[in-house]
């Protein structure tokens, strides 16, 4: 309209409706998922370390998966759980799932394990090859007891079957070189790994971690000190692990959406800062 003053660029950027920003994020994230656009993904050392550790495990010993995630962090932890179980099955390593972080974690862990078995298309039988030991209230005395004598801390599986009647748990007494359990992998959306650092780490048992991306930066010192044998960082960690074992899954598909969303956020950050800088330059020009 004639006579109406045009807004300067910095004000136009500054006045973008936040709902438009959300709508943009929604479309940018959804498009790669619908179109199945794939972006190249490279594998970083921490997931490779975890895969190498699992590859070196003896087949006559049990692996414990401490599954401590619930619906809130499902998008990050479930693909980690699925891909790790797939790797264990490929290596014919029997495993036991146990939850100490969330009471509803055993149900979700069970669904993820059954999905992994279905994807691997092998007869992996409950009770003989794997077991779900359910939720245990992990007080400090319980953790100490579990690390020293597993049967003292775990009496039954999540359906109430006594562990001495479950073939895969027969003879499993303790962790370590002279024990029957070779490793524990904590897949978690909370701080459950701290308990394992306190009690399991001093025994020298291999400890792996799959955690949410929020938690990951704090875990790198533990990787550096050798207390962790490998680390999966959120959905990206799951995607990298899928690449390592050659089993495409949810992680790989979702990473394209993740990368496009990051790009979008970077553009928004640049625009936001551009608006501030232009405004500052304009105010300085007026003062002169």
């Amino acid at each position: 309209m004639r006579g109406q003053r045009r807004l300067p660029l910095e004000q136009i950027i500054g006045r973008i409706d936040r709902r438009l920003v959300y709508a943009g994020l929604f479309l940018i994230t959804l498009a790669p998922l619908v179109g199945r656009w794939a972006l190249p993904l490279y594998v970083t050392p921490p997931p490779k370390m975890l895969a190498d550790t699992i590859n070196a495990l003896p087949q006559d010993k049990l692996v414990f998966i401490s599954s401590n995630w619930d619906a809130g962090t499902q998008a990050e932890n479930r693909p980690q759980m699925t891909v790790l179980v797939r790797h264990l099955i490929r290596r014919r390593l029997k495993f036991a799932s146990i939850s100490i972080g969330a009471p509803n974690a055993p149900q979700l862990a069970n669904a993820a394990i059954e999905q992994a078995i279905q994807l691997e298309k092998v007869p992996w039988v409950y009770g003989q090859d794997w077991v779900n030991l359910g939720y245990k209230l992990a007080t400090e005395p319980w953790l100490r007891s579990f690390v020293r004598q597993i049967p003292e801390a775990v009496k039954e599986d999540w359906k109430g079957t006594p562990v001495d009647q479950i073939p895969v748990m027969r003879g499993v007494q303790k962790f370590g070189p002279d024990g029957q359990a070779s490793m524990l992998i904590d897949i978690t959306g909370s701080a459950t790994i701290d308990g394992w650092y306190r009690y399991l780490s001093p025994t020298g048992v291999k400890l792996g971690l799959g955690c949410t991306a929020v938690m990951a930066p704090e875990q790198y010192p533990f990787l550096d000190s050798g207390q962790l044998s490998g680390l999966l960082t959120g959905m990206k960690g799951a995607a990298e692990y899928e690449q390592i074992i050659g089993a495409q899954g949810f992680g790989t598909t979702a990473m394209a959406g993740q990368s496009f969303a990051h790009l979008y956020i970077l553009i928004l950050i640049i625009l936001g800062n551009l608006s501030l800088v232009l405004g500052w330059l304009e105010r300085r020009r007026r003062r002169r």
Partner: protein, 223 residues
């Protein structure tokens, strides 16, 4: 789109509608969002109570009690003593259990500290000159330089950050002030990395919801 006229379908529809109701707050605050929020809080509280009974109190306390181990009743007495905090006359009883729990926690915490951090203290002693070798037995110059640089950077960061947190004297000395300032900058870089990870985590959760809506509900994303 999934049919709502089966048990599985109805569950997916409920999940999808709840997701949309909660995301509606992005447009503006509205009664549908409030309704969904209150239902979620009510469900989460009820489920928390039920799971506490089913997975904690029933197997570890009630089952033992009805099996004849009467001493477990004492835990109820000890738990009840916490509530005397509301009575001025009986408040000393709550202090008894609190003191016991604090003593227990302090003892266990002390042991836990060693289990968690002793290895890290050991791992912080790194060689400043690293010699890496190739498979053929020669010196890997590039690898050695990079590994040495990483260790020197680690040491410098550790010294700077520890100086920043050294509060026993005022940081008037210029080199110490500069070192502490460098420590603050280095921590800022670490916080930036942490925040980046947080953004990645939140987007992962968003992608999880999108996948549920557009794969499980309206089948727009192929599985």
């Amino acid at each position: 789109m999934t049919s709502p006229f089966s048990f599985g379908g109805a569950v997916i529809w409920l999940g999808a509608l709840a997701t949309l109701a909660l995301y509606s707050v992005l447009y503006r605050e509205n009664p549908i969002y409030r309704f969904a929020e209150h239902i979620f809080l009510g469900l989460a509280t009820a489920m928390g109570l039920y799971m506490t009974w089913k997975t904690v109190l029933y197997p570890t306390w009630y089952k033992e009690l009805v099996a004849g181990h009467w001493a477990w009743i004492l835990t109820l007495v000890a738990g009840g003593m916490y509530y005397t905090i509301y009575s001025k006359r009986l408040v000393w009883m709550s202090r008894l259990v609190m003191m016991t729990m604090m003593g227990l926690s302090a003892g266990l915490g002390f042991r836990g500290f060693f289990g968690t951090y002793m290895k890290q203290i050991g791992a912080s002693f790194k060689p400043l000159v690293v010699m890496q070798h190739t498979a053929a037995g020669g010196v890997d110059v590039g690898g050695s330089v990079f590994a040495s640089f990483t260790n020197i950077l680690f040491l410098a960061t550790m010294v700077c950050v520890m100086t920043y947190f050294f509060f026993s004297f005022e940081q008037k000395n210029r080199p110490i002030r500069r070192t502490a300032s460098a420590g603050r900058w280095l921590m800022m870089i670490a916080f930036g990395a942490m925040f980046g990870s947080t953004v990645m985590a939140r987007l992962s959760l968003f992608i999880g919801r999108l996948t549920f809506l557009f794969q499980d509900w309206i089948h727009l994303i192929r599985s």
